[in-house]
């Protein structure tokens, strides 16, 4: 019994490793019942499409998504996947989205730098040419790239959703510097700005002002465009962008688990049969 406990404890230590490190001073993110939670979870296609629209019309003004190509939007598991177009480069919806952007290229004849409409194979163009330009336009802060944002933050989409909807009036006694904004879900330490009594509030300063507002994005499917809805949808979209193969992975995983369970069962029966006459 003690030995079994040891094995469980070792595993428990492994599992505790992650959350144990999250001992920051920010508020715990609010938990959202995402459609893609759990071993059978799938992305909500309509939600991903709305989320993409929020990204495109609001976030992409400052945040790059340099690892994403337009074709990713039309691939299996993506927001605009259409079974009629197994090759996402042929997906007319994706082609139309790409065409709206201009990208730099080299003219093959003359060698001149030219602009041409983007194709499905092109990466999302970045809003700034380089890091210095991005910082210069954002009060010295660098808007993080969104390609892996969701999996690079403790709490993932829950955290992004909580941050976006978590902007509050700073508590009295907190002197927020110009160009900064207080958010209780932002990791950090605001004690340097705290002039009130007692402990400084949890949370941190963030250079980004509350980016969302009611009706800021018009959803094509008629969904009411509240800040909460926009935050949910764009968080789901970013979760997909971080793990575009999640649906394939989970579907494969269910098959693998069933296979391994049957294999383990058969091996156990064989084990009992082979060992039945050995006193041990």
């Amino acid at each position: 019994m003690l030995r079994k406990g040891l094995a469980i404890a070792v595993l428990g230590l492994a599992l505790a490793g992650g959350p144990a490190l999250a001992a920051g001073s920010q508020k715990e993110p609010r938990t959202v019942a995402w459609s893609f939670n759990g071993p059978f979870g799938k992305f909500d296609r309509a939600q991903l499409q709305r989320g993409y629209k929020v990204y495109r019309e609001v976030c992409s003004a400052c945040h790059a998504m340099s690892l994403m190509s337009f074709r990713n939007l039309g691939q299996k598991g993506g927001p605009f996947f259409d079974p009629k177009y197994p090759n996402p480069n042929d997906n007319p919806y994706v082609k139309t989205i790409a065409k709206d952007y201009e990208v730099s290229d080299i003219d093959g004849e003359t060698g001149d730098v030219v602009k041409r409409p983007a194709t499905a194979a092109d990466r999302f163009p970045s809003p700034f040419p380089n890091e210095a330009a991005a910082r210069a336009s954002n009060g010295g802060a660098l808007p993080p790239d969104f390609s892996t944002l969701s999996k690079s933050r403790e709490g993932g989409p829950d955290y992004i959703y909580s941050l976006l909807t978590g902007y509050v009036t700073p508590p009295a006694g907190l002197q927020v510097p110009t160009g900064q904004h207080y958010n209780p879900y932002m990791p950090g330490d605001v004690s340097a700005y705290w002039k009130g009594k007692g402990h400084a509030p949890v949370g941190g300063m963030i250079a980004m002002a509350a980016p969302l507002a009611p009706e800021k994005v018009t959803f094509d499917d008629g969904t009411k465009s509240t800040v909460d809805q926009q935050a949910r949808d764009v968080s789901a979209f970013l979760a997909w962008a971080s793990e575009p193969k999640m649906e394939e992975r989970k579907a494969f995983g269910v098959g693998a688990m069933v296979y391994l369970l049957i294999l383990a069962g058969l091996l156990y029966v064989s084990y009992r049969r082979i060992w039945r006459n050995v006193a041990h």
Binding site: R3, R153, L267
Partner: protein, 439 residues
């Protein structure tokens, strides 16, 4: 165990081969006919599980190396490309990343089993030491592998660990420069880590061969710690232990698959999905979970050099363990006092792991300030790790030598078969013997 062989070549090809290079005989003697104590429990299945882990890491690693770009400007994006655009790249990469954790879960179970049943004692000292060499190589390989994605934790972890060597007097600085291939962790560091990360697993495989060779000379230890006395104590490895190991492997793979498919990033630090930036240091630099106990020992010592020496000492002490434990009784089943100290030792290791993941000045009991002892509050992670680290070393350097001299062990069975046969369930009448001889 060695020398005697029951192999009889049956076909013409086998006879031809056996006269020239008896490779089939070697395989037969090693994994088919190998006499194995019949009382091995599930703790003894981790050897087979570890062999599988090494195989998985090698196979997935070779495929990953076909797509990975060892360059500071491309490494991060190439890993993401593997997961997004390479066919089943997500599967290969997540198996490799989680496989490292699974490898360490299995190796820790394997080592604690060896400690509990006294598998390091004569005549298995060399077997144990070869195992320690494998463990050391595993740690080096895992550390360098973690650097390759060139995320924030990869980079800053590499900075912290390579700087440790700088604490050594006289040669420290030269060693660090040599490790870096320059004057900071940069592209040459990444390149050589990639090269070594590819090399070391094959060295591990080589030492594994020696480990198995040494095992097959002296034979398995077993939960009673009593050596095999007669043929009645053993069963052939195949089919008895191939099927038992096979079942354990299937169960282990279920846990492995649960991580790979449903929670692939649970064991890693999310910050490593932020590309490395030398100018921005993460809030908490922590190693992967399997290094946390050693990280806690390192930070428990205020002096950097002493901390480094203690950390390496925690591993070095394992190498001399066969000569620290003076008791003639192998299994802790028959050493009740030492067994109690052993379980405290296991708890101390877990506590060290827990402390390694926390900030040193964090309170153990939240909100309770006691009094400052030397440099930190007594109710802090750093003091908890000091107590646990002290116990870790005391277990090897004081308790085991002392217990060997003073403890009166319980009576041991005459042979492996004795405690088994003394159970009421004797072999049923008409039982078919030797199923391995059939089909």
């Amino acid at each position: 165990m060695s020398g005697h062989s029951n192999y009889v070549p049956k076909t013409g090809i086998e006879r031809w081969l056996d006269a020239r290079m008896p490779i089939v005989r070697l395989a037969y003697d090693s994994v088919v006919d190998f006499p194995t104590p019949k009382n091995l429990n599930y703790w003894y299945t981790f050897g087979g599980i570890l062999a599988l882990c090494l195989g998985i890491q090698l196979a997935t690693g070779i495929v990953l190396a076909m797509h990975y770009v060892p360059h500071v400007d491309h490494a991060f994006a190439s890993i993401e490309r593997i997961m997004r655009d390479v066919n089943y790249g997500w599967l290969v990469r997540y198996m490799h990343a989680n496989g490292a954790s699974m490898f360490f879960i299995a190796v820790y179970a394997h080592m604690f089993r060896g400690l509990y049943y006294g598998s390091y004692k004569a005549p298995r000292e060399l077997l144990w030491i070869l195992g320690c060499v494998i463990y050391l190589l595993m740690m080096a390989t895992a550390f360098m592998g973690y650097v390759l994605p060139w995320g924030q934790m990869s980079f800053h972890g590499a900075v912290v660990i390579t700087n440790l060597f700088g604490a050594l007097p006289v040669v420290g600085e030269s060693i660090t420069t040599w490790l870096w291939g320059g004057f900071a962790v940069d592209n040459p560091t990444l390149n050589r880590f990639f090269s070594l990360h590819y090399l070391l697993p094959f060295m591990i495989a080589g030492v594994v061969v020696l480990h198995i060779w040494a095992l097959h000379v002296v034979g398995n230890n077993n939960p009673t710690g009593v050596e095999v006395k007669s043929k009645a104590d053993t069963v052939p490895f195949h089919p008895y232990y191939t099927v038992k190991d096979g079942f354990a492997i299937a169960v282990f793979l279920l846990m492995f698959a649960a991580f790979v498919f449903f929670n692939p990033n649970a064991l890693g630090d999310p910050v490593n999905y932020v590309p490395a930036n030398p100018l921005v240091t993460p809030a908490h630099i922590v190693p992967e979970w399997y290094f946390l106990p050693f990280y806690a020992i390192l930070r428990a010592v205020p002096d950097k050099l002493m901390g480094v020496l203690m950390m390496f000492g925690a591993i070095a002490v394992l190498f001399v363990l066969p000569w620290l434990d003076r008791s003639r009784v192998k299994s802790l089943r028959y050493r009740p006092t030492t067994r109690m100290y052993f379980f405290i030792f296991v708890v101390a290791c877990l506590v060290l792991g827990y402390c390694g993941g926390k900030l040193p000045d964090e309170h153990v009991i939240p909100g309770l300030s006691t009094f400052t002892l030397f440099d930190a509050d007594l109710n802090s992670m750093v003091w908890l790790s000091r107590f646990a680290a002290a116990y870790y070393f005391a277990y090897f350097l004081v308790i085991l030598p002392w217990m060997g001299l003073t403890e009166t062990p319980l009576p041991q069975p005459e042979s492996i078969s004795e405690p088994v046969l003394s159970h009421s369930a004797a072999t049923p009448a008409g039982a078919a013997a030797s199923p391995e001889k059939r089909g």
